[in-house]
């Protein structure tokens, strides 16, 4: 068991709780930076994929996990980021400018979209954002002169100061680019959470009334959360476009929106870790499913028969499993495990039980 002695307020304001934790993350950073030298090209590509999911996951986590606003439309903002980035590059904007601009544009679109739906809560907000996802898909088809319609677009090569980065030609470089974006988004996210605005986000999530009574402007704070969230998601969308090489309206369909939401639920709502755990699950799920499928085919001797929809099926099963047995997601499970070992042998089974100690009888509104 570890006791953390704090000698100044900075101990809480700092990025890490204690030195061993900082070393831990440093080690992790070294590992991810060294990854291209440790594994083969295929795996580097997979890792890149996971990072892209993680960026989008952080975007959605900020909105849903920390601000409490469900969104079933985040694929739309990935699309905005992707198309704007590629269209800008096609018009001669250098990549290093186009990528952040794409994020900013996606963020602004997020704010504009957020304004009319700010008053909606829970399931109604989910439905409104779902509609946004569907509409965006249609819009991409209609806006053919820019988006290429159903045919879609092909991502141009990325050029940074004469250095050409290509997902297949130079997978390690593309991995590093994605890693850099991941780290920038992560740093901003982490900083925000230890600053007043991040606390205002969680305050909104837990009680709008008392957040207001503490001086938090609900509409503006929600719009900011939407903007930041959609901005990060837009960055992920742009990277996804380059990762996929070619994309059209179906790349950013409703299924992607749903997958994003499921990812953060499985990873663990309300923590940045959750976005990364979720990204790992989503990123490696296809391989896992392939394994399971081969296993099943082996046992039942199905030969080359494919089972339609098995991917969604397994995905759904995992999700239902989490909601039933571990609503706090993988991160929640990890925290419990860690506490168990830290406190061994003093861990109590009901340590993480919530105390229901009062009734909400009087609610305003």
């Amino acid at each position: 068991m570890r006791f953390v002695f704090k000698r100044s307020y900075d101990a809480d304001i700092g990025l890490f709780k204690h030195r061993p934790q900082a070393l831990w993350y440093l080690g992790l950073l070294v590992l991810v930076v060294a990854l291209p030298w440790l594994v083969d090209e295929f795996f580097v590509g997979e890792a890149t994929n996971v990072l892209i999911w993680a960026i989008a996951g952080m975007g959605l986590m900020l909105l849903t996990g920390h601000t409490g606003q469900a969104s079933l439309g985040h694929a739309a903002f990935m699309a905005v980021g992707c198309y704007t980035c590629v269209i800008m590059i096609a018009n001669g904007v250098p990549f290093l400018l186009a990528l952040p601009l794409a994020g900013v544009i996606a963020g602004l679109v997020g704010v504009i979209v957020a304004l009319p739906v700010l008053r909606l809560h829970g399931i109604y907000l989910a439905i409104a954002t779902l509609a946004i996802s569907v509409l965006t898909e249609d819009f991409i088809v209609i806006a053919e002169p820019w988006t290429g319609g159903v045919v879609g677009l092909v991502a141009p090569p990325i050029v940074i100061f004469g250095l050409e980065i290509d997902r297949y030609g130079t997978p390690a470089l593309f991995y590093f680019l994605t890693l850099a974006v991941t780290l920038v988004v992560l740093a901003g996210y982490r900083n925000l959470l230890r600053a007043p605005l991040g606390r205002a986000f969680t305050a909104l999530r837990d009680s709008e009334i008392s957040a207001q009574a503490m001086g938090v402007n609900i509409a503006r704070t929600k719009a900011t959360a939407f903007g930041l969230s959609c901005g990060a998601t837009g960055l992920a969308g742009a990277l996804l476009g380059f990762y996929a090489g070619a994309f059209n309206h179906e790349t950013f369909n409703l299924v992607l929106s749903i997958q994003l939401l499921l990812m953060i639920v499985i990873g663990g709502l309300g923590s940045i870790h959750g976005a990364f755990f979720g990204a790992l699950v989503i990123g490696f799920l296809p391989q896992f499913i392939a394994l399971v499928r081969d296993g099943i085919s082996g046992v039942f001797d199905l030969g080359s028969v494919t089972i339609p929809g098995i991917e969604s099926g397994i995905f759904g099963l995992i999700l239902v499993g989490f909601i039933l047995f571990e609503p706090t997601g993988i991160y929640g499970r990890w925290v419990k495990l860690r506490t168990y070992f830290e406190l061994y042998p003093f861990y109590r089974k009901d340590m993480f039980k919530r105390q229901k100690s009062f009734l909400k009888t009087e609610r305003m509104r």
Binding site: S210, Q212, N217, F358
Partner: protein, 260 residues
Amino acid sequence: MSLLVLEQVTVRFGGLVAVNDVSFHVGEGEVFALVGPNGAGKSTVFNLISRFYDPAHGDIRFREKSILGLRPDQVPALGIARTFQNIELFEQSTVLQNLLVGRHRHRRSSLVSELFFAPQVRSEERRHRQVVEEVIDFLELQAYRDKTIAGLAYGVRKVVELARALATEPRILLLDEPASGLSLEETQDMIFWIEDIKKQMGITVLMVEHDMNLVASVSDRVLALADGKELAIGSAQDVQSHPAVIEAYLGSGGRAGHDG
């Protein structure tokens, strides 16, 4: 000087007149209590002042200026802080984080500076933290600092809510039933705290409370309401022995005299 003035305020919910032509003023440095049977309109008065409800007519002035044009989130900036009758804390956050949200009205940093955690943000954080630690010391919440609200007992939550309101560094504190559901000792602590808040911190207190023992020990003046109407105003003894007040409590069959 009167810090807070309510002038002939009326609130209607459909056909129900929850607050009926109520006027009173709270002086600077005073502890002012609102009492009355259930449904008298006490919490409604609080929700009016914190701008969650709009009056049908009447005016509310804080430091001579009408606050009716303000949104609820603009009220704390004036130095008006409140607690809720049924505790509205940020359940998934720690006590420390809850109190730090109380500092929101003192936020000066911008979105961009916070994304980079600029030096200015850090120094403001230190300042917020210092104020919050003083409140934690005052209300003896040290043991709960890093505990999540969801796991705390009712009595502690009540204190955390008071702490969060104090962390805003208010001029006036609106306490909605600060002692309801508290044990005898906890109520005794609450009495001491309210006295200190008034005397040492110089904060004006407007509170709603059913526990007449607490009301009598701390308040300078008491206003009794029933069915939205003013019944009597004056010292705790005067109000308690006022025939209209006794009548109202007996009539409601409710919580007369000294219950909690």
